[in-house]
């Protein structure tokens, strides 16, 4: 049985100094930012805000300077991320590029691809989305069917991607396509491509979610031509790339902080009251204990990433426990405030109403709870 390693991690002094810079920036930038907007956190899209972060060097922080990066440690970056999320900053526009696409290109991209995309991601000007899921292929990515057929010097793509967050506003999709059907090896025959979303033949249709928002999309490819220079990594060799990419997707503080702004609002509302029941205090305290512990775990994962280790298993543990807590917080607000949250009411009510309706997605996106528990079970030697 593999045991999980969560070694304690001390944040370096540079990270602590950076924290006060970020806090000062956010305090002035988000002054008067409504609770409902803060509740969106990493789903909140604001291109201007992303560009300002780019100017300050807070996107692509760990990347080489030659690609517009800043060559800072993963722990410096971690502190920026957790300050953004805890303050409810609207980081969605650059989030995917910073978290996944950039690192993917640094690992597997060509020199030309790096030069073409990385500097503009780091400036907060070029926004990415991830084309993995499909109509019949959610957590079971090996069943991807959208095909890229070789034309010699390029590829022609046909099929449909689904649940693609931000596709309607992003510039580029990093997409996973089937390039071969290999009997008995569902993980083979998949290839990743950089698809500029203004390429002819692409139709993007936003899908309204149950809260009335439309952040994810259906993206249809009809005879879309993509040159071979846009292929990322080996032909048919995307599975290991995608697996590594998902580790980035699962390891960050966004996996337990999605509802943090509501938690802070809830505590603030209690703070304004003269009396609290012991139940209020106990339930708030229990959530605080879980938040504090998840943060320690999340920092530990960041420390392992910084040390060049592969904490994929530990990241799955944090994401699973984190989603359970995140999903509890809207219900906790409902219980403790004891009133219905009306849309249009503003303030904490609007934030809570939004998150009550969004919480079901927390244990779906980035791998369902069942997938994560399967990964953990494999780590325990059960599979």
């Amino acid at each position: 049985m593999q045991t999980f390693r969560f070694d304690p991690c001390d944040l370096p002094d540079t990270a602590l100094a950076l924290r006060s810079d970020v806090r000062a920036f956010l305090a002035s930038e988000l002054d008067g930012f409504p609770a409902r907007k803060r509740a969106e956190t990493w789903m909140g899209w604001d291109a201007d805000f992303s560009r300002k972060l780019g100017e300050r060097g807070w996107i692509g922080m760990t990347w080489p300077k030659q690609y517009g990066g800043h060559e800072r440690s993963a722990l410096d970056r971690y502190v920026v991320l957790e300050e953004m999320l805890s303050a409810g900053a609207p980081v969605a526009a650059h989030w995917i590029g910073d978290r996944q696409s950039g690192p993917l290109l640094l690992n597997y991209g060509t020199e030309q691809q790096r030069q073409k995309y990385l500097p503009s991601i780091a400036r907060g000007e070029s926004f990415f989305c991830i084309g993995m899921s499909e109509p019949d292929s959610g957590s079971d990515l090996a069943s991807v069917r959208t095909r890229a057929e070789s034309t010699g010097d390029g590829w022609v793509i046909n099929g449909t991607k689904l649940w693609t967050s931000g596709a309607h506003r992003a510039h580029v999709m990093i997409a996973l396509f089937r390039t071969a059907t290999e009997e008995g090896n569902r993980h083979g025959g998949l290839t990743q491509f950089l698809v500029d979303l203004d390429t002819p033949g692409i139709t993007i249709r936003p899908i309204r979610d149950l809260s009335g928002n439309a952040h994810f999309n259906e993206v249809v490819f009809e005879d879309v031509l993509v040159p071979d220079t846009q292929r990322v990594g080996e032909t048919h060799g995307a599975w290991k790339q995608v697996t590594a990419e998902l580790a980035y997707e699962r390891s960050g503080p966004e996996r337990y902080l999605s509802c943090y702004p509501l938690m802070a609002e809830l505590v603030q509302e209690m703070h304004g009251k003269s009396e609290h029941s012991s139940r209020d205090e106990i339930e708030i305290g229990r959530a605080v204990a879980e938040l504090a512990t998840l943060r320690q775990m999340s920092v530990s994962v960041a420390g392992m990433l910084d040390a060049g280790q592969n904490p994929a298993l530990e990241a799955s543990v944090v994401k699973d426990l984190g989603a359970v807590l995140e999903q509890r917080i809207p219900g906790l607000a409902t219980d403790l405030l004891g009133r219905p949250f009306h849309l249009g009411a503003g303030g904490i009510d609007e934030a809570a109403a939004y998150l009550v309706q969004n919480a079901p997605s927390f244990s779906l996106r980035g791998g369902t709870r069942e997938i994560l528990r399967g990964i953990i079970a494999r780590g325990l030697g059960l599979r």
Binding site: V267, R286, A292, A377
Partner: protein, 344 residues
């Protein structure tokens, strides 16, 4: 783990594997003091791990001692080892010599009596009270806490915990053998009692996880090992995640105590809330995985699960410590909360 921690871990695992067989556990639960086991523990200086070298201890820090405190849970140790470690540390903190033998500690009301102090009220529900010749009593003092060492108490109301560890009230007619002041929080007994119970839970959760994984792989039903059923895998994954989480929380508490024992209250509370909640979940999953056999005394899973149930409410349960955290969070307000969490 650093070098000292690896050494402590290796020594403790070897010692408890060699000396703590099932008959020893069963005899201890019948009330028989495991003398040979205690002797081995004492020879290795485990109880004095936190005592400064000047007073004959190992001079280790709380992160190092955590290895032994967790081992109390991993090996379901039927001895007041955690109590001895804390009591010895308290004496050392107050500048007092540490006697040989098992020690325990309790909240008290200490009053000056000439050059010494007396214990005016019975010490209540003291772990291993009747088994420890010496007891460390603690009461609030304007400069921290007053700490006093008492000998040969008179025990009454002898009962046992769910873990079958003995508990009793103690009264003293004679003044303290020695006493001093330590710069520690007024609720020192509760805080440091809570952190050692949280550490024990962290160890016990690891132990029941290992046992459940092993059992699930061995036990065949419907023609295959039950470990192959997804429902079982997911339960064990949940147990593993909780066990990992408690481990992280107690490590954070140990580091906070090491940095400053007066200001570690938040981290200790976090660890005990997480540990107490996870203990209930973990014991439940471990038993569900083992089925009926795990419910028998014969099998032995209960040596760990009964400790989980026993330790969860000792020195303040989840509700007690959560309420403390909740009160502080509400008092600080919404902006302060993140500052508190991120300051660690």
């Amino acid at each position: 783990m650093n070098e000292l921690q690896t050494m402590l871990s290796d020594t403790a695992n070897r010692l408890f594997t060699d000396h703590l067989q099932k008959p020893v556990r069963e005899a201890a639960e019948e009330g028989q003091w495991p003398q040979l086991l205690w002797q081995a523990v004492e020879e290795n200086g485990f109880g004095h791990v936190l005592v400064s070298e000047a007073r004959g201890g190992a001079g280790a820090g709380w992160s190092d001692a955590m290895v032994l405190l967790r081992a109390c849970g991993t090996h379901a140790v039927p001895l007041p080892l955690a109590e001895t470690i804390v009591a010895a540390w308290l004496l050392d903190q107050a500048g007092l010599d540490v006697p040989e033998g098992p020690l325990t500690f309790a909240q008290s009301d200490l009053q000056p009596d000439g050059d010494s102090v007396v214990c005016t009220v019975p010490l209540q529900a003291v772990p291993f009270a009747a088994q420890c010749k010496h007891v460390v009593a603690v009461s609030p003092h304007k400069d921290g806490v007053r700490i006093a060492l008492f000998v040969d108490g008179k025990s009454s109301n002898e009962v046992t915990t769910i873990a079958r560890d003995p508990v009793a009230d103690l009264t003293y007619n004679a003044p303290a053998v020695s006493h001093g002041i330590a710069q520690l929080p007024a609720d020192t007994v509760l805080q440091f009692g809570a952190v050692v119970r949280a550490a024990g839970i962290a160890g016990a959760l690891q132990a029941v996880l290992l046992q459940a994984v092993q059992y699930a792989g061995d036990r065949v039903q419907f023609g295959r090992p039950i470990s192959q059923f997804q429902a079982v895998q997911h339960q064990l994954a949940e147990l593993a995640s909780h066990a990992a989480s408690v481990g992280v929380a107690v490590d954070a508490a140990a580091r906070a105590i090491e940095a400053n024992p007066r200001t570690a209250g938040f981290d200790i509370a976090v660890a005990k809330v997480r540990a107490a909640d996870a203990a209930q979940i973990g014991a439940s999953i471990a038993h569900q995985t083992h089925g009926a056999i795990g419910f028998t005394y014969e099998h032995g899973l209960h040596f760990w699960t009964r400790r989980l149930w026993s330790w969860a409410p000792e020195f303040g349960g989840a509700a007690h410590w959560a309420q403390r955290l909740g009160k502080e969070a509400i008092k600080g307000g919404g902006k302060e909360l993140w500052t508190t969490i991120a300051a660690r």
